[in-house]
């Protein structure tokens, strides 16, 4: 006969299994890669030129200040066309896509994001010459933006 403690443990395990697919990390990674692929058209994304400023340790994932700055002269011939921000562990990888032009003067966008869990945050810049640059930062989140079970 099953003990009371054993029964309770079974119940807890059952709930966890029902809500979280076991390979959730891979699913999230694949979603991130797919989202990046959609933006870049599977072009090569090089590291550098982008500066992603985000606190490495986040107390509250509900409003995380993020600043993305891209090295660019911002002239008609050479400017940043778009800045995209993605997170690895959110239910959806997208955060924002900002479209700029030479009239921006400086390629700098700041916003506040929701970040669900410890993982990578990726900023991608699309240049007017068609090249893509990125920076990825690993952040640690102590209070998640989505506390509901089954999301993280």
């Amino acid at each position: 006969m099953i003990s009371r403690r054993g029964f309770l443990l079974l119940g807890v395990a059952g709930v966890a299994n029902a809500q979280l697919p076991p390979n959730i990390a891979e699913i999230r990674k694949a979603a991130l890669q797919e989202a990046i692929g959609k933006v870049t058209g599977n072009a090569q994304v090089r590291k550098g030129r982008v500066k992603l400023d985000i606190p490495p340790l986040i107390d509250n994932g509900n409003a995380v200040p993020v600043t993305v700055e891209v090295e660019s002269p911002m002239t008609q011939a050479d400017h940043v066309k778009a800045i995209h921000l993605f997170t690895e562990r959110n239910p959806q990888p997208y955060v924002f896509s900002a479209h700029l032009g030479p009239r921006a003067g400086k390629a700098r966008v700041a916003a506040r994001a929701r970040i669900a869990d410890t993982g990578d945050v990726v900023a991608i810049a699309q240049m007017s010459d068609g090249s893509f640059w990125q920076e990825s930062v690993k952040v640690i989140v102590t209070l998640s933006a989505c506390l509901e079970e089954g999301l993280i």
């Binding site: 409003a63 955060v95 924002f96 900002a98 479209h99 921006a104 966008v109 916003a111 929701r114």
Partner: protein, 106 residues
Amino acid sequence: MARVVVNVPAEAKKGEVIEIRTLAGHAMETGFRRTQLGELIPRDIIRSLVCTYNGVEVFRAELHPAMAANPLLSFTTVATESGTLEFRWTGDNGFSATEKASIKVV
């Protein structure tokens, strides 16, 4: 009518890069949260912000549920001529808000 705030310098030198900060009062409901009864709360977010400078688009952003509530966006533009900057937010459930700010370029 939703409350929105924009911060644009009142005066700038010609050719100067000015910083613009915008804030819209909005819960940015993600569509992933549930009520205590387990029902999904439908998504209700601001999807885009467009900024035009004397009628010419200078900045556009698409927002997703991962933007924090009361979405704040800060960006830059070159002060080219005196005139108005117009900001337009649009979102789910027919959400729409506009705000204008005038700038004097010397």
